[in-house]
């Protein structure tokens, strides 16, 4: 806004310089023309006076009359008048001081020109008055003879003043216009800006998961209204898509769970029938404790074992279905991003995993500040840390060969101005860079030979990535230089973020 007005003022200034030159020229021309006209009038009046010989009785009277006329002209806002005779001697002046009457002006170029019959005009510097003058000199003609000349001089300052006055009036008008245009422009743009801000606020609400957010299509400039209409169309489409995905999740859950139930019940029943038949006796005895002491045949024992394995597979299928549903729900989730203390969550998670880590012969500890406020959807930090720790526990126990006494998992919260990074570090076998990049894909599995790898549903990290996306956080896996893996998530800082 200010820049716009500044440019307008600069343009005005630049234009004023040629404009003032032009005005000066016009003003000078106008003045010269008017002076010439006046000079001719005076010349006409002087004609008789100059013709009258100086010795004549009427001469003083006529000279006095002409002097009075010259003074009258001067006083009416005209110029200084000097009338010379054919010899270039001043006869009449408009001055109150008549001392120069009788002085010869013949040497002055303009007088010489006029006595030669030319009309001259121009500027000159007056040594007497110490100012620039504008002059006009005309000859006084009587028939064929030039009997004298009239010279009118005018201070140049008068022209300059006139020009300055006009310029300042113009400048004032221009300035008023600019200021008025500025005020109108400001009011208009403020309205547009306000509408845009409202629209921006609506966009943020939609981005934060409020699917009911709609823009006002009837307010503001036509461009804003059209933008609002487009925005609303997009929001409606988005809402429909998310709704469809939610419906799909519900449908899929029903459609897949029902046959899975039938499968499970049948497998369970078949195993129980065999177990009873084999006379294992003890209800609920573990299938992997081998054949019972009864008369169980080797074939029956093998069948029981296979059925138990089939049941485990059915469980895994169930886990995958549940995982997909969770993923699908997370993707269509519109849970709002809120502030949470990720340091507190991390400490709690460490405490939660402590007993299991201890059982597995591992250490687990928290490293970081007391508080770290970040923006995330409510349960995301907890679930992400749990997934990372789960993987770290698997990784740390998978390599039992060179198990040192120092093995531990570190959950670290570090300031990453302006956000916070939560890392889970393990000293397991780590992953190749290629695997680090692919690990967040659905159904990706680390090393399928690793124990426990088959029990996962391959969706844990995909869900982590989705939770992070919904929380506007970034996830990453990285090989540690000292061996092992660093799994991290970087959150945006919350408003009340505390320093480390």
């Amino acid at each position: 806004m200010a820049a716009l007005m500044g440019i307008a003022l600069l343009v005005l200034l630049v234009q004023d310089i040629p404009l003032s030159n032009y005005l000066r020229q016009v003003e000078t021309d106008r003045l010269v023309t008017s002076l010439e006209r006046d000079a001719f009038v005076l010349a006409g009046r002087s004609e008789e006076t100059l013709e009258t010989p100086a010795s004549s009785a009427t001469a003083p009277t006529e000279a006095a009359a002409l002097t009075a006329a010259a003074r009258g002209y001067r006083d009416s806002g005209g110029a200084r008048v000097v009338i010379v005779n054919a010899d270039g001697v001043a006869v009449v002046t408009s001055d109150d001081d008549q001392s120069i009457v009788g002085d010869s002006y013949a040497s002055r170029p303009e007088i010489m020109g006029a006595l030669g019959g030319q009309i001259t005009s121009g500027h000159r510097y007056s040594d007497t008055l110490q100012i620039d003058l504008l002059y006009v000199t005309v000859p006084i003609v009587n028939g064929q003879d030039i009997v004298g000349a009239v010279r009118l001089t005018f201070p140049e300052q008068v022209v300059t003043d006139a020009v300055t006055r006009q310029i300042s009036v113009l400048g004032l008008v221009a300035l008023t216009t600019v200021v008025l245009a500025g005020i109108v422009g400001f009011i208009f743009s403020a309205t547009v800006t306000r509408r845009l801000k409202v629209l921006q606020h609506t966009t943020e609400r939609l981005a934060d998961g409020d699917l009911d957010a709609r823009a006002d299509e009837r307010a503001g400039a036509p461009e804003i209204r059209s933008l609002s209409v487009s925005f609303n169309r997009m929001a409606t489409r988005l809402e429909t898509l998310i709704e469809q995905q939610r419906t799909f999740a519900a449908d899929a859950s029903h459609q897949l769970r029902t046959p899975l139930t039938a499968l499970r019940l049948r497998l369970e029943r078949a195993r129980e029938l065999l177990e009873n038949d084999a006379g294992t006796g003890i209800a609920g005895s573990a299938p992997d404790t081998g054949p019972g002491p009864g008369s169980a045949g080797a074939a029956e024992a093998a069948a029981i074992e296979r059925l138990a394995a089939a049941e485990a597979e059915a469980d895994r299928l169930g886990s995958i279905i549940e995982g997909l549903l969770v993923l699908s729900r997370t993707e269509s989730s519109t849970a709002p991003v809120v502030e949470c203390d990720v340091a507190r969550v991390a400490r709690e998670r460490v405490e939660h995993w402590q007993p299991l880590a201890q059982e597995l012969g591992l250490g687990i500890r928290y490293e970081g500040p007391d508080h770290a406020t970040v923006c995330a959807i409510a349960t995301a930090p907890e679930q992400i840390i749990d997934n990372y720790v789960d993987n770290a526990l698997s990784a740390s126990t998978s390599r039992s060969i060179d198990a040192g006494p120092e093995r531990e998992i570190v959950v670290r919260v570090a300031s990453l101005s302006p956000g916070w990074r939560v890392s889970v570090l393990d000293d397991g076998p780590g992953l190749s860079d290629e695997d680090c990049a692919r690990a967040f894909d659905r159904f990706w599995r680390a090393d399928s030979d690793a124990p426990g790898a088959a029990s996962g549903n391959g969706l844990g990290l995909a869900i982590v990535a989705q939770l992070a996306r919904a929380s506007r956080a970034a996830v990453r896996l990285e090989r540690r230089r000292e061996g092992g893996l660093e799994a991290s998530v970087t959150f945006d800082a919350g408003v009340h973020s505390a320093g480390p």
């Binding site: 609920g284 969770v326 059982e359 426990g452």
Partner: protein, 239 residues
């Protein structure tokens, strides 16, 4: 005990009936809501297993119709695990809610629990003793579970070990109650997660292990809960 199975999916229904027969229950299978309402008088069941997704009418509607004329306990068996579905079914008069896929042992345990609760309520002789409230346990029913030196009180949610009170988180307590209900039996991981965690997805495969480890630590002896590799866990009193 007579159980009416209202389920439109044939394979699931026959799986359930098979299991019920094995547990010595008498059962009848119907596929529609109308047939279920008709069977209420003709079959006169002691308990109803009701699927919510029926072809002719909504399951919750069937639930309300049954409840308007009788106090027969109803267990809803559904593939929907949203909290709202649960709430609606329980509001309509259901006594329990089981999400598919479930194991037969869990289903039978629930059938027994519900019928015990309702018969206890009926025995109290009070018309206001609504079985659906599930608080009918209070009248004379034992709430203490004693396993060696361990005493679990399900009513006050307190656990004491050799006379000293041990504090558990709500999830740990539920898990302990679940495992100790059938001491000596192996509980499969999937069943435990399904029954104890219910709607909430467990997130990671080791969440269960973490809770078991926490309980073991608080009980001071890993022998209380034995890990059965590849299958699950078994609760027992350590020697």
């Amino acid at each position: 005990m007579r159980v009416l199975v209202v389920e439109d999916d044939g394979p699931v229904a026959s799986g359930i009936i098979d299991g019920l027969t094995m547990a010595a229950f008498e059962s009848l299978h119907v596929e529609t809501g109308r047939a279920a309402l008709a069977a209420m008088t003709s079959f006169a069941p002691d308990l109803v297993l009701l699927d919510l997704g029926l072809p002719d009418m909504d399951g919750s509607e069937v639930c309300r119709s049954i409840r308007s004329s009788s106090q027969t306990p109803i267990i809803v068996v559904s593939a929907r695990d949203e909290e709202i579905d649960r709430v609606v079914a329980l509001e309509m008069g259901a006594d329990d809610y089981v999400v598919k896929p479930f194991g037969m042992r869990e289903l039978i345990a629930r059938i027994r629990a519900v019928s015990r609760r309702t018969s206890a309520g009926a025995a109290a002789g009070s018309g206001a003793g609504d079985a659906a409230v599930g608080g009918a346990d209070g009248s004379g029913a034992r709430t203490d579970r004693v396993l060696g030196s361990l005493v679990i009180d399900t009513r006050t949610q307190r656990v004491s070990l050799a006379g000293t009170e041990v504090y558990f988180t709500p999830t740990e307590f539920d898990l302990l109650v679940y495992l100790s209900r059938d001491a000596g039996a192996v509980h499969r991981r999937a069943d435990i997660l399904h029954d104890v965690w219910e709607t909430t997805w467990h997130g990671t495969t080791k969440t269960l292990d973490a809770h078991v480890a926490a309980i073991r630590k608080k009980l001071g002896n890993p022998g209380w809960i034995e890990s059965v590799r590849g299958v699950g866990f078994r609760f027992g009193v350590p020697e």
